[in-house]
């Protein structure tokens, strides 16, 4: 019985050690941005962003395939440097933020392509619709910061079709897809 108990303790400590080795990071919102880019009539690019979000990720350099990410976005924080447009984007033609105040991304897997690049798979929920979404990810850097912490940052891009998320306001043939440009910096917990 005692032996069994010791085995259990060792096993659980091993398990703990294992889960700790995949470092957990809190997203530093001061150094993270969630931007989007969409064609305006096909003549120029319009950039916008979400100002309010939070999230965390875990990443193990020895086992990048086990990386996990979850991010939650406050849809009402959409900002495109034009108050009347932002009002329209928050309304029911687009994000309908009263009904769908949050967009979320929860990873389901990570394909490591080596040298800090990979494809992050996950479920993206926007406008009440959840769809699988893959994000091309590249690690920008990682290391100690000057204030005693440890940080790791990634950049990622992906595209999505608005109608896949039941956003069907017609912006014209050049503007059916949105590119998301995500820059994430995490502080190790």
């Amino acid at each position: 019985m005692k032996k069994l108990f010791i085995t259990a303790v060792i096993a659980s400590s091993l398990f703990c050690a294992n889960s700790v080795s995949a470092d957990d990071y809190t997203i530093d919102t001061a150094h993270t941005s969630i931007q989007f880019k969409i064609a305006h009539l096909g003549y120029s690019w319009l950039y916008g962003r979400f100002n309010t979000f939070d999230g965390e990720f875990s990443y193990d350099e020895k086992n990048p395939a086990a990386a996990k990410v979850s991010v939650s976005i406050d849809t009402a924080s959409v900002y495109s440097n034009h108050a009347e447009r932002d009002k329209h984007l928050r309304g029911d033609d687009f994000l309908d933020v009263k009904k769908y105040p949050q967009a979320t991304f929860v990873s389901t897997g990570f394909t490591d392509n080596g040298s800090g690049t990979g494809i992050l798979q996950g479920n993206f929920t926007l406008h009440g619709v959840t769809k699988p979404l893959s994000i091309d990810v590249k690690q920008v850097g990682a290391g100690k910061d000057p204030w005693g912490g440890y940080r790791r940052g990634f950049e990622g891009t992906t595209r999505l079709a608005l109608k896949d998320y039941d956003i069907d306001f017609d912006l014209g043939p050049a503007s059916t897809e949105v590119e998301l440009i995500i820059n994430v910096e995490g502080i190790r917990k």
């Binding site: 009347e84 009002k87 309304g91 017609d170």
Partner: protein
């Protein structure tokens, strides 16, 4: 024949009558334009033109209403007709007051939509109204909701006001409406 410019206690002058009907046409027009323009598709020619005209006319209406108030202050107000019951005078007075208040409130809330991020309002490529920044979060959205309900309330009161005038004209067969159509 001399055109009566100023009001007397018995009849409205040509300026009061002119401004009254001009404001009436503009208010009804802006209400229709406002509802219509917000329903347009992105590629509609009026998608950008509609709001531009709506805002430009709105600013000019504000100026017209200021002139109207000043004119009212320096003029004798025309008295209600003696055959009107006390309750009719009271209701009419309250509705008139509410029309003025709602008119200004609607115009101010509209201004607060367009100027929410510090942008000016361009009036017919003629002049610009500067923004007065309040820095309220989601100001455009809040002001937009208020603007809509104020405009609906205003239009409802316009209907009540018109119904009153028609009641006096067709049921009481008095000069209430005629006084607003011609000077003495």
């Amino acid at each position: 024949m001399v055109i009566q410019v100023r009001n007397t206690d018995q009849s409205w002058g040509v300026i009061s009558i002119g401004i009254h009907w001009l404001v009436a046409i503009i208010v009804i027009g802006l209400f229709g334009l406002g509802l219509w323009m917000t329903s347009l598709s992105y590629y509609d020619a009026w998608y950008t033109q509609g709001p531009y005209v709506h805002k430009s006319i709105g600013v000019l209406l504000f100026a017209l209403m200021v002139v109207r108030l000043l004119w009212r202050l320096v003029n004798t107000p025309t008295m209600p007709l003696p055959n009107h019951a006390t309750w009719e005078k009271t209701v009419a007075h309250v509705v008139h007051l509410a029309l003025y208040v709602l008119l200004f409130a609607t115009m101010i809330s509209g201004y607060l939509i367009s100027t929410a991020d510090g942008r000016e309002i361009e009036v017919f490529h003629w002049f610009e109204v500067p923004a007065f920044t309040l820095g309220i979060e989601q100001q455009a959205d809040i002001a937009g909701t208020i603007h809509f309900y104020l405009a609906v309330s205003l239009t409802s009161l316009v209907v009540l006001h018109a119904a009153g005038a028609l009641k006096h004209h067709f049921l009481d067969k008095d000069d209430t409406l005629k006084r607003m159509l011609r000077t003495n």
